[in-house]
């Protein structure tokens, strides 16, 4: 094979060499040469989205459900600016994606040409790294480097901006050489610190594992090692929203999710523990609540591949910079070689305390009245889809928290949600990316009606590619989380937080060629969910739920973990003082 080819062909060749099978994109003037090459090959399937934001979220969904990098291809100017939300989302959640953008030809850059935008300038703060390629000979090397950077260390989004003349010109293609990059983040943890942690494990009386998305990003082996570590020590484990599935929800040591809408037992354990072992989480403000009151009496260990995460928010006693799987492997080795000791008596007492908190049964609810309660909808969805090869996406808001609380995740890479950025409109395109990677799986996007409308155009994509994604919309005709905060913080003045002039979702689905189901009676819910599961094609499920339901438990902002609001709590004046300025 000759190594001389056009820049456009190099793009396709590099994607093939990197093992890419699917690209999500939208054509335009500045990427036409690349689209021409895509037309003339059969290795890569291109998925035509309906909006560039959808392409990036779909690539994220693909990446999160497979552990492989996701790829999006968009044009210059508006194509690139529409990709910005997805890039920021991927940066916050450390998702490896490669976004390729077309650019006006090099000789027109800076002239305010048609569909010109300073793409690398705009995306510099929302990518892990980005490149503008001005020479066709440098293109293949840059593309391989882009994959390397996206996947190495703390994963993240990268962008390669390719001017149209660079796509047309001929240059020399160079195959991938991963060792060529100077970017080689440290993966092995410092053994002294790991030994210090092993010693702390031996003497802890009230330990807890606090795990995050880093466990998922580290690969399936990391989840396996976590399970081994939890089983061997008998310590309780909780997880952030991002880390659900790393430890199975059915596992004995599972306390459920922690944080603002986390479980009572998880948050109380975090507050009262004497040894906190943070594995691949970043002490996000949704987790810590007020920093002054965060787990005041614990020794804290923090395993993170990103040195800047350590001591950023919470001062830790045992910092370990490294990849979760590598560090856990070493930790297990060290701890076992020292005699695999724990303070069994102390830990048993700790479990007794935890079980008292568990008995509060903070997620309990009663399905009463004529309307479906959203918790009930989630519980039934869980019961009826549990045995399936299932992937769950969500949008952002109350429904997202209910999904995290009531759905159980047994394995990593099964849960796709916008954690850090909180992007409404994420779930629908993400579900398309997931279904592209797992054609026979049951892919459900748990949505709110307002979030779903933000990227509902992607239903066209689902129809075109015969992707049987299920859009399960908890429709309360409200921006539920906004409404809840207005109830808590703004004297029940519900400013702009109801969804007026909503479409008829069944007719909307049918207009796209999908199936629409509406359900409002609790008695019909199971049958309706079964109908959704059994339909071979995309479904929009309009689940009309109780309109003024609040999402509990909740740590009001400005309050510590042990001052949670439980169901039916008095909400007036729950947030005061400095808490009110926090989001």
């Amino acid at each position: 094979m000759s190594n001389s080819m056009t820049g456009a062909k190099m793009v396709v060749q590099a994607l093939i060499d990197q093992g890419v099978d699917t690209v999500f994109g939208y054509p335009g003037g500045a990427v036409l040469p690349i689209y021409d090459e895509i037309f003339q090959q059969n290795h890569i399937q291109h998925v035509l989205v309906r909006h560039e934001q959808g392409a990036v979220h779909a690539a994220e969904g693909y990446a999160r459900s497979t552990g492989k990098p996701g790829v999006a291809l968009v044009t210059s100017g508006p194509g690139a600016t529409n990709a910005v939300t997805g890039l920021t989302d991927a940066l916050m959640d450390s998702i490896p994606i490669i976004v390729l953008t077309g650019q006006v030809p090099t000789f027109m850059i800076g002239s305010d040409a048609f569909q010109e935008a300073d793409t690398v300038g705009i995306t510099r703060p929302c990518t892990k790294h980005n490149w503008l390629v001005k020479d066709t000979d440098a293109l293949s090397k840059t593309l391989h480097e882009a994959f390397h950077v996206a996947m190495s260390g703390r994963p993240g989004p990268v962008l390669v901006d390719i001017p149209k003349d660079v796509q047309f010109a001929t240059g020399t293609y160079q195959p991938a050489k991963p060792q060529a990059s100077h970017y080689q983040p440290q993966v092995k943890g410092d053994i002294e610190s790991i030994t210090e942690l092993a010693k702390a494990i031996e003497t802890a009386k009230r330990p807890i594992f606090y795990t995050g998305g880093g466990v998922i990003n580290s690969g399936p082996q990391a989840s396996q090692l976590l399970r081994e570590l939890v089983a061997a020590t008998g310590f309780p484990v909780t997880s952030t929203l991002m880390g659900l599935g790393a430890y199975p929800a059915s596992g004995e040591a599972w306390l459920g999710m922690l944080g603002m809408h986390g479980l009572y037992e998880a948050n109380m354990s975090m507050h009262d523990c004497d040894l906190m072992i943070n594995i691949g989480a970043r002490f996000d403000d949704r987790i810590t609540g007020t920093v002054e009151h965060f787990s005041p009496n614990s020794k804290k260990a923090h395993i993170d591949i990103d040195a800047s995460s350590i001591n950023k928010v919470i001062r830790v006693d045992i910092p370990i910079v490294g990849d979760v799987a590598h560090v856990l492997e070493d930790l297990l080795k060290v701890w076992k070689s020292r005699g695999r000791k724990t303070d069994a008596e102390g830990v048993a007492k700790w479990w007794k305390q935890i079980n008292e908190w568990r008995a509060v049964d903070c997620l309990a609810f009663k399905q009463t009245g004529p309307n479906i309660r959203p918790q009930h909808a989630m519980a039934r969805l869980e019961a009826l889809t549990k045995g399936h090869d299932r992937y769950i996406c969500t949008e952002v808001g109350q429904h997202q928290m209910w999904a995290a609380q009531y759905l159980g995740f047994e394995d990593p890479n099964r849960w796709m949600t916008s954690g850090g950025l909180g992007t409404m409109g994420y779930g629908h395109p993400a579900s398309i990316g997931v279904q592209m990677a797992h054609r026979d799986a049951l892919v459900i996007n748990v949505a709110g009606e307002a979030s779903w409308l933000m990227n509902m155009q992607e239903l066209g994509t689902a129809i075109q590619y015969r992707l049987p994604v299920k859009q399960f919309i908890l429709n309360n005709e409200r921006l539920g989380m906004v409404r809840q905060w207005q109830e808590l913080l703004h004297g029940e003045r519900y400013s702009q937080s109801w969804s007026e002039a909503l479409p008829d979702f069944v007719k909307l689905a049918e207009a796209f060629g999908a199936k629409g189901i509406q359900c409002s009676d609790p008695a019909d819910l199971d049958d309706a969910i079964m109908e959704m599961i059994n339909h071979d094609g995309p479904v929009v499920f309009d689940c009309l739920v109780e309109k003024h339901e609040n999402c509990f438990p909740m740590i009001p902002s400005g309050k510590p973990h042990n001052e949670m609001l439980l169901a039916n709590a008095k909400t007036q004046g729950a947030i005061t003082g400095t808490g009110a300025v926090l989001v």
Binding site: V120, G121, R124, P125, K128, H129, L132, V149, G153, R154, H182, Y183, G189, D190, E192, S193, T290, V291, E292, D306, A307, S308, I310, N311, K312, V313, I314, R315, P319, I320, V321, T578, V581, L582
Partner: protein
């Protein structure tokens, strides 16, 4: 402790400072940042400081190794020890940054800045200006019958002191390069 050398008591710097301060003492640190000499690298470094709300007191940048595509950025910044540790770690994760050295932490270092001063005046002021320039070992690099341009090299404090003295004598304009710094001794940064 790990090789990271993260100080105890570190926390975050935030624009919304609701977080506890483990140490309130603001320190002035000089950082040497070795970067890949490529387009946009300075924007990445500056964007980090503006985006996360850190201070820049002075910043200088120039290529130091043409063959190896390396530039050296010298940044003088201030903040609590926790903030300084965050700045160092955040700089370190930029893909085009090869190494970050906190010269203030790593031992004694030499800091120099170059400045040009335009001073205009007549009679005694003019004589006094050139007398002081001599004391400060400043060179005259341009001269007319009514003005001088002095070139002075030294620590930022020395240049500040010279500026204070020139001000009443007819200081018109100043250009400063910002600080360049190297650690003392035979040992070179890797």
């Amino acid at each position: 402790m790990s090789a990271l050398n993260i100080k105890k008591g570190s926390t975050s710097h935030s624009a919304y400072n609701l977080r506890p301060n483990y140490s309130d003492t603001e320190e002035r640190h000089t950082l040497a940042v070795i970067v890949e000499n490529e387009p946009g690298v300075l924007a990445r470094v500056i964007g980090l400081f503006s985006g996360r709300g850190y201070n820049i007191e002075s910043l200088t940048v120039a290529e130091i190794d043409h063959e190896g595509h390396r530039s050296r950025i010298t940044i003088v910044t201030s903040g609590t020890p926790q903030v300084i540790a965050q700045i160092t770690a955040q700089l370190g994760r930029i893909v085009s940054v090869h190494n970050v050295y906190d010269l203030t932490v790593e031992g004694a270092s030499v800091e120099r800045e170059l400045a040009l001063f335009k001073v205009s005046g007549k009679g005694n002021d003019r004589i006094e200006a050139i007398r002081l320039a001599d004391i400060f070992r400043a060179n005259v690099v341009d001269s007319t019958l009514e003005s001088f341009i002095f070139e002075i090299t030294g620590t930022p404090e020395k240049i500040d002191a010279f500026a204070d003295l020139m001000r009443p004598l007819g200081l018109e304009e100043v250009a400063r390069t910002g600080v360049a710094a190297l650690s003392r001794g035979a040992h070179a940064l890797p």
